[in-house]
């Protein structure tokens, strides 16, 4: 083989490898994005059904209840404008408390109950998860606009 065609072959195979890999990355990326919605958006029906997403806000005071089996927990996430009921099976993270901010990931059922698969309690000096704060701010803004 001539050096020139050798080079082409080498570049060609490296290029093919690269294109295949990039295609894989982009497909995986599209399929696995998880969107965030505020409780208000969920209440307005803007959130998807049958696809996992995240909601965030405050854990409503007095809402945490354990069912008799001991594992299933019910609570509600609120942005102060709307309240979304949530169920979760398992232990609650140490920092998950009523009146504190939380973000949960899961699937919204047709009955309006959010079935959480993951509870995210942040572990840094900022006790308020960012997304929870965002939801509160949005609701706050919306309420103000209504008043004017």
């Amino acid at each position: 083989m001539k050096p020139r065609s050798k080079r082409l072959l080498l570049l060609g195979s490296a290029g093919a490898l690269l294109i295949g890999a990039v295609a894989l990355v982009l497909t995986a990326f599209q399929q696995n994005l998880v969107f965030f919605h505020t409780p208000s958006e969920v209440a307005e029906g803007k959130a998807p059904q049958e696809r996992a997403f995240r909601i965030g806000g405050l854990v409503e005071e007095g809402s945490i209840m354990r069912e008799d089996d001991g594992y299933t927990v019910r609570f509600a996430i609120t942005d102060t404008a709307h309240v979304i009921p949530v169920t979760y099976r398992g232990s609650l993270p140490a920092m998950f408390q009523e009146g504190k901010g939380a973000v949960v990931q899961g699937i919204l059922g047709e009955d309006g109950l959010f079935r959480a698969t993951e509870l995210l309690a942040k572990h840094d000096e900022n006790y308020m998860p960012v997304e929870a704060q965002f939801a509160l701010d949005q609701a706050h803004k919306a309420q103000q606009t209504v008043q004017y």
Partner: protein, 657 residues
């Protein structure tokens, strides 16, 4: 007074770093030896003053001087001494000071161990490191002064985040920083090479041990961090693909590519531009990691927008470093073209393929880490990219890397025949798949992922055995000791590190396939079964720690009827920071860990207890240890020392002349 002295020492260090950045560069340009050697002295002085400054800050923490704002926010009189000391780097300002000190340590190490380098080259290396140092020290001084006073002083500090009060946290940041910052040496060598136009096999030989040592530290740092997350966060996971983890993983991936690319450049003179580009981008990833973790963009892009000084400074630093080095690269690299040519079927091209794949994986991790930040910054919606994405990308891209990793050593440099390679590795590859399938059936968990993982692991082990056997067959007739000594450290390094990957894959696959977990509601005397173990809850009692209160559960574990061990998970409450914490209890074993934590207290007598069995998790750590050990073997290869000895007389002759 102490804090002011520390502040002053840091200012002196900044002045010296600026001297180190400018004078030797001028000297190299004008070919004046006296100016060139200033770099070395400035570096030594700089280290002295940074250490003074660091020690004084630590003194403020130990003596609980709460007129220093940093100590007031991250320490407490009741904090155990060791956490007062490590608390110095458990925060933004202190960790930046540690960053700068680490860089200074590396710089001085280069100035001591690389005496044999040509003076002009060395001067430029010192200059580049000086610029980086000036950038970071000024960042610390102007935006994040660790010595800021709090007037009036408070009576009691706010304590270190309880999650950080842990032995893992003592060594994790220094190890990680040694790794991150260590890549600055390879970067400085690359820039110096671009400036001088000297870029040959010798350059690669100088860079190799430094890159390898940085890589060892980074590997250890990531492994310790992962272990810390495993037992401290209380969820039993060991890797979360969280942005902070990704920030350290990206330089690791590129650093791995760089080590291998340097090997090719040294041995064959090929891949020169690619190696240079990798040296630049690996360090850029270290800087990006520092930016991600230190600017606060991860916690909130908006927090970043509200207090942009820190973020903008470090972003500007990042853009400057990457921008200038890429411009320099674009300008000078075409002159460096050439080097060894090689065929499509050769060890060179198998290394190139792995390099490309590692770069793509880095790109994929970068995309998943930065994309949500961009979306958020541009107000296009809030999204998150979770572990499913990273796993979907990582597994298929790394599988060929692992296969090629063990094929490569059987392939000849420059040119080889397909038939010869197939004869060598074909049977082993087939056998690995058979073993993988059989193994998956044996453990009763047949999914494509388990089969793939176990086949890859089998392949690494089989190929390692064959490599070793071939190496020993190399010189028939000689004594074993002679043959052992004939094998260079670099070869052992490669062999051990690759074997470590195999062990690591076994751990990851087994835990992914077989881990089991139950949450049980338990009151005193109640029992639960998991994985052949019986857990009996003996109640929880109140205990008091130095700076926390805790409920300590007592759980007796039986294997069959035999008492096995007693476990004591805790639910702690740190008084000063008012933070609850879960303290896991572990029973570590070679083939499984028992992992027990206390969940919620349901009523006075009843707790929700989380029981996990983590099969083969120790193999993950063992794999990391082997990788690090391999690095140590490779870095201590006799060749590098011989190089220094050979060059020494030449140096003496030049100075005499």
């Amino acid at each position: 007074m102490i804090a002011e002295l520390g502040h002053f020492a840091l200012i002196l260090a900044l002045v010296l770093s600026i001297v180190q950045a400018i004078v030797p560069m001028v000297g190299a340009a004008k070919n004046r030896i006296a100016l060139m050697s200033v770099g070395r002295s400035a570096a030594h002085g700089q280290l002295l003053f940074i250490v003074i400054s660091y020690v004084l800050l630590t003194y403020a923490f130990i003596t609980s001087d709460f007129s220093v704002k940093l100590a007031a926010s991250h320490s407490h009189t009741q904090t155990p001494l060791i956490y007062k000391i490590t608390g110095v780097w458990g925060n933004h300002e202190g960790s930046l000071l540690l960053w700068a000190m680490t860089l200074s340590v590396w710089t001085v190490a280069v100035s001591i161990f690389s005496r044999s380098l040509p003076e002009a080259f060395m001067a430029r290396v010192m200059g580049v490191l000086g610029w980086i140092s000036a950038g970071f020290i000024s960042f610390t001084l102007f935006t994040s002064n660790p010595f800021e006073r709090l007037l009036p002083a408070v009576a009691e500090g706010r304590d270190l985040n309880p999650l950080l009060q842990d032995p893992g946290m003592i060594i994790h940041p220094p190890l990680l920083y040694m790794g991150y910052v260590g890549f600055s040496v390879a970067f400085a060598f690359a820039i110096a090479a671009l400036l001088t136009g000297r870029f040959d096999a010798a350059w690669a030989r100088w860079s190799r041990p430094w890159t390898t040592v940085a890589w060892i530290f980074l590997t250890a740092g990531i492994a310790v961090g992962s272990g810390w997350a495993y037992y401290e966060l209380g969820w039993g996971g060991w890797w979360f693909w969280d942005p902070v983890e990704n920030a350290s993983f990206m330089p690791w991936l590129l650093g791995t590519a760089l080590m291998h690319s340097l090997a090719v450049t040294e041995k064959r003179g090929a891949f020169r531009s690619w190696t240079l580009l990798l040296a630049i981008s690996t360090f850029s990833m270290s800087l990006l990691g520092t930016f991600l973790v230190r600017s606060g963009v991860i916690t909130s892009v908006h927090a970043f927008a509200v207090d942009p000084a820190r973020g903008l400074y470090i972003l500007a630093l990042l853009v400057l470093v990457i921008g200038i080095s890429l411009v320099l690269f674009a300008w000078r690299a075409p002159k460096l073209a050439g080097g060894g040519s090689f065929d499509l079927v050769s060890r060179d091209s198998s290394l190139l393929a792995n390099n490309v794949l590692l770069a793509v994986v880095t790109g994929a991790v970068l995309l998943g880490t930065l994309y949500p930040l961009f979306m958020d910054a541009l107000n296009l919606g809030k999204i998150s990219v979770g572990p499913p994405y990273f796993e979907a990308v990582f597994v298929p891209l790394m599988a060929p890397v692992v296969i090629l990793m063990m094929v490569g050593p059987f392939v000849r440099w420059k040119r080889d025949g397909v038939a010869r390679i197939v004869r060598k590795v074909g049977p082993g590859l087939l056998l690995s798949v058979v073993i993988g399938v059989g193994w998956a059936f044996a453990i009763g968990h047949v999914t494509w992922r388990t089969v793939l993982g176990l086949s890859l692991a089998a392949w690494v082990l089989l190929a390692s055995a064959k490599l070793l056997q071939e190496r020993f067959a190399d010189r028939p007739g000689t004594a074993l000791a002679v043959r052992l000594r004939g094998i260079p450290g670099g070869w052992w390094g490669m062999w051990i590190a690759h074997l470590g990957i195999g062990i690591f894959i076994i751990g990851v696959t087994m835990i992914g396939s077989l881990e089991s977990h139950i949450d049980v509601r338990m009151s005193e005397g109640q029992r639960a079964e998991l994985g052949g173990y019986t857990f009996v809850f003996r109640g929880a009692k109140f205990v008091e720690g130095p700076n926390y209160e805790a409920a300590r559960g007592l759980i007796e574990v039986f294997r069959g009827d035999r008492p096995w061990t007693t476990m004591t998970p805790e639910k702690r409450f740190y008084v000063a920071s008012a933070m609850p914490m879960t303290q896991v209890s572990l029973d570590i074993g070679p083939f499984r860990d028992l992992y027990v934590s206390l969940g919620d207290q349901l009523d006075a007598e009843t707790w929700l207890v989380n029981l996990h069995i983590k099969p083969f998790i120790s193999w993950i750590w063992a794999g990391c240890v082997l990788m690090g050990l391999g690095g140590i073997f490779a870095a201590s290869d006799r060749r590098y020392r011989r190089l220094a000895e050979r060059a020494a007389p030449a140096d003496a002759a030049r100075q005499a002349g």
